[in-house]
């Protein structure tokens, strides 16, 4: 199945207005298939990851994941999906490094440990076990574009969180952009990111060039608005109707929803092709697309130990949008 203009626009949330569709997308003739063989090479490295971003990618529909990897990109290295194991796998990385190939996009999933390379190793080169950090540095020197998929890679995420006892992060985990100081890294955060964000951003880069980014390196077309302003429960908020407990009707602000301070389009886009969303299901946003996730300074995801409502600052008294970075907000 090939991607038509309508699907592409749908995936972009309708924000990428006029797109002239390239002939490479026309399927069915030999020329198109030869063109397809020239689709962009992708090397996808998992460092300190849980593979959740990759699993989320598999949930891509319109175009489905099989079309994505046979028609739009060439997934040369992806540890979870590739047939090759051992040298057949690491040989692909070695080839990209040693032959000085400049024809691939480097995607990193997971944070990168810096205290000791042994905290994450991937295969061998020249008889030596190579750490994720070393591979990424060597590959990035050749790559034509650098992309972070997921919050761990974009900002450090949970593996980079600070233990509360002040002992410092156990593995010195950092984000891809931090490792690549000075180079542009396109961030697609989320824990996990929506598959449309991943595929849509990649296709935008391939077809239209770099999308417009916000201050945190995220494409504005997906992360340009707060969860709150697109929320299914916004009318409840405006009516002053607040849920007292998870799953109840009403705005989820008082049970800890961070949607006012977090940016993504999930309430509008929803997960799995419209099935449900973080706010619709009665749980609320945990701010997983933000650079301060999951520490939020000293606050943590949930500030109060239970969902009691007393002592809460009323929503209208707080400073909305991005206050998470300034020491935390006050909801439950």
């Amino acid at each position: 199945m090939s991607l038509n203009r309508r699907d592409f626009l749908k995936m972009m949330g309708g924000t990428a207005a006029a797109i002239t569709f390239p002939s490479v997308m026309i399927q069915g003739c030999k020329r198109a298939l030869e063109k397809a063989a020239e689709r962009t090479n992708v090397i996808w490295i998992q460092a300190q990851s849980c593979s959740g971003c990759s699993v989320s990618l598999l949930n891509q529909v319109d175009p489905d994941i099989a079309s994505v990897i046979t028609e739009y990109i060439s997934l040369n290295y992806h540890q979870t999906l590739m047939a090759g194991t051992g040298s057949k796998a690491s040989g692909v990385l070695e080839d990209a490094v040693k032959k000085n190939r400049k024809d691939f996009v480097l995607i990193v999933e997971g944070s990168i440990p810096t205290k000791d390379d042994k905290y994450c190793t991937i295969g061998e080169m020249d008889g030596r076990i190579i750490g994720a950090r070393e591979w990424i540095e060597k590959l990035a020197a050749n790559a034509k574009a650098l992309v972070s998929v997921g919050t761990c890679s974009a900002y450090g995420g949970i593996p980079a969180a600070e233990p509360r006892d002040g002992s410092g992060n156990p593995t010195g985990a950092i984000s891809f952009a931090n490792l690549m100081k000075g180079k542009t890294v396109l961030n697609i955060p989320g824990c996990p990111p929506h598959p449309n964000w991943i595929v849509g951003t990649l296709l935008h880069v391939l077809l239209k060039g770099m999308p417009e980014l916000d201050d945190y390196g995220r494409p504005k077309m997906f992360y340009g608005k707060t969860v709150h302003e697109q929320c299914e429960r916004l009318s409840d908020y405006k009516a002053g109707k607040f849920a007292k407990y998870w799953g109840d009707a009403g705005c989820l602000y008082q049970v800890g929803c961070l949607g006012m301070d977090s940016c993504c389009d999930i309430p509008a886009r929803k997960w799995l092709g419209g099935v449900n969303s973080c706010t619709e299901c009665g749980a609320g946003c945990i701010g997983c697309t933000e650079d301060v996730f999951p520490d939020f300074g000293k606050r943590g995801v949930f500030k109060h130990l239970n969902a009691r409502n007393e002592n809460l600052v009323k929503p209208e008294h707080r400073v909305p949008a991005f206050n998470l970075r300034n020491g935390g907000i006050f909801n439950g």
């Binding site: 971003c53 290295y77 590739m82 796998a89 905290y119 061998e124 949970i158």
Partner: protein
């Protein structure tokens, strides 16, 4: 001595390596090596206990639902509450759907490429347009990229791969399995729609909380969930099961390869709120000898693990102090032991324990397969036994989902409520698709004082215990024939049959004279 390193073992979740010593074409020693450490348990300490419920799902992106449930259960223990009926049932429905996703992904997208020959597409003569598209794709990939700088990755991600005379030869079987691979992508995605219908999203469901879930079982939610069951169930019964049988018929040797005979199951799907009644039984089995399970007999040992903290501790008192350079240690995995024994966990463990417990549904399925292959019960202690157990489980779960829906109180509360006490402790036991999963928490001053997760892969991919005895994967690799140390696909098949959730490397050592280092996959 031929040293062969398989690093990374792909098509599993995460980073793992295994070192094997091969003499006269057989494995005589093996080490399983976990290659990644994040320090989650240390990061959790001092946080709000509720944070653990969300953060612990990020231990694994393939089975986050089981981590979320284990975490919710240990918090419930610490808070002194129980889930309500709706909460328990909705969790089972989510977990069940995630099992279907996980088992399908394991067989088709992770394990199958060890058996199925993707290049059989080139011999396809039929008229199916989808298959013909794939055929043209493979042809063009190989032709167009030939001689180019990116020739190495022609046909990615299906090529390159181990080359040898060890794939399925029958063209029709290969084509059918490849079509299954593509169809299973859609089926597992639909299983995730079912997870998201209750959990808000998948993976990493947001709606798992102590006391139950956040999603009210509305008619709309139930309709969305129900919509996909029949299609997935038909696929499991008519396609998945048939492909497992086809692999078993082609590779009968693997009924004798990869044996391990200690099994443990915490019990799958809570049928009451008392942690007593399960769809697949709780218990321990040594061969065909069944025993009761007692959580106090679980200890974690670290003599061969890269931790400087104490060894042989119960998870409540567990410590996780990393030491990457610790002498004699070779892995980031600890070695969990039950009464001092290494235990296999996972679909095979659940099926064996249930079979021995007299579970009639399991017995019917297992006996039918044993009869088909004219085999006795010992055949299940094998690579093929693991694949078959997974398929049987998927079949039984898919059949059960509708019954659970009928037990829901529609539009009723999806959870009970709680207050967080000053202090407390709790244990959350659940069966993840890969096996027995436990979370243990100590709460002090309303914060997490200690948090330990003992995950399935640690049980079966863990290293030697303090007594020097091998872990389950290490032991299962023993005596595995390796025809070609450059292409040790046999070892990869054994490791993958466990469905590990970390990345691996396998070292092969032959005799005592080093003749070279090969990397294998």
């Amino acid at each position: 001595m031929a040293k062969v390193l398989i690093d990374p073992i792909t098509r599993i979740e995460g980073h793992l390596s295994i070192e094997i010593d091969v003499q006269n074409g057989k494995v005589v020693d093996a080490k399983s090596i976990g290659d990644m450490f994040r320090g989650f348990e240390r990061i959790f300490v001092g946080r709000n206990p509720l944070d653990a419920n969300q953060l612990s799902q990020r231990i694994c992106g393939v089975c986050p639902i089981s981590h979320g449930i284990a975490s919710s259960k240990c918090l419930e223990g610490a808070f002194g509450i129980k889930p309500n009926n709706n909460g328990r049932i909705l969790r089972n429905m989510m977990l069940g759907a995630n099992y279907l996703h996980s088992h399908l992904i394991h067989f088709y997208h992770l394990a199958a490429l060890d058996y199925v020959d993707i290049t059989a597409l080139l011999k396809y003569k039929g008229g199916d347009s989808k298959i013909n598209n794939l055929k043209s794709w493979v042809e063009n990939e190989l032709k167009v990229k030939k001689g180019r700088a990116d020739a190495m990755t022609a046909g990615a991600p299906f090529l390159p791969r181990y080359e040898g005379n060890f794939y399925i030869k029958d063209v029709d079987t290969n084509i059918s399995a490849i079509a299954g691979y593509v169809k299973a992508l859609e089926m597992r995605m639909k299983a995730h729609k079912m997870v998201a219908a209750i959990g808000g999203r998948a993976p990493h469901a947001i709606g798992l909380v102590p006391g139950g879930v956040t999603q009210v079982p509305t008619r709309a939610m139930i309709r969305e969930y129900k919509k996909h069951i029949s299609e997935i169930q038909d696929f499991i019964n008519d396609v998945y099961m048939e492909h497992v049988i086809a692999v078993a018929k082609t590779f009968k040797d693997y009924f004798k390869i990869g044996a391990f005979t200690n099994f443990m199951s915490y019990g799958l799907f809570d049928l009451d709120n008392e942690d007593k009644k399960f769809m697949l039984q709780r218990g321990v089995a040594y061969g065909t000898k069944l025993g009761a399970f007692d959580p106090n007999k679980i200890k974690e040992q670290v003599q061969y693990s890269r931790y400087s903290s104490g060894s042989n501790l119960h998870p409540y008192d567990g410590q996780t102090v990393p030491n990457p350079q610790k002498g004699g240690a070779y892995t980031w995995l600890k070695a969990p032991r039950y009464e001092g024994n290494a235990m296999e966990v996972g679909p095979l463990a659940r099926v064996v324990v249930s079979y021995l417990s007299g579970n009639t549904a399991v017995k019917t399925e297992v006996d039918a397969l044993l009869k088909m292959f004219n085999a006795d019960i010992s055949a299940v202690f094998s690579v093929l036994g693991r694949h078959a157990a997974r398929a049987i489980e998927a079949k039984l779960i898919a059949a059960e989902l509708r019954n659970w829906i009928d037990e829901l109180e529609v539009n009723g509360k999806p959870r009970s409520t709680f207050d967080i006490p000053e202090s407390g402790e709790g244990m959350g036991l659940v069966e993840a698709s890969r096996g027995a999963l436990g979370h243990w928490i100590r709460v002090k001053d309303r914060k997490i004082a200690n948090y330990q997760a003992v995950v399935p892969t640690t049980w079966f991919c863990g290293p030697r215990g303090d007594d020097g005895k091998r872990g389950p994967v290490e032991e299962a690799l023993m005596n595995t024939p390796i025809a070609d140390p450059n292409n040790p696909i046999e070892a990869a098949r054994v490791v993958r049959s466990f469905d590990p959730c970390i990345a691996c490397a396998v070292h092969v050592v032959e005799g005592d004279r080093e003749i070279g280092t090969f990397k294998v996959c």
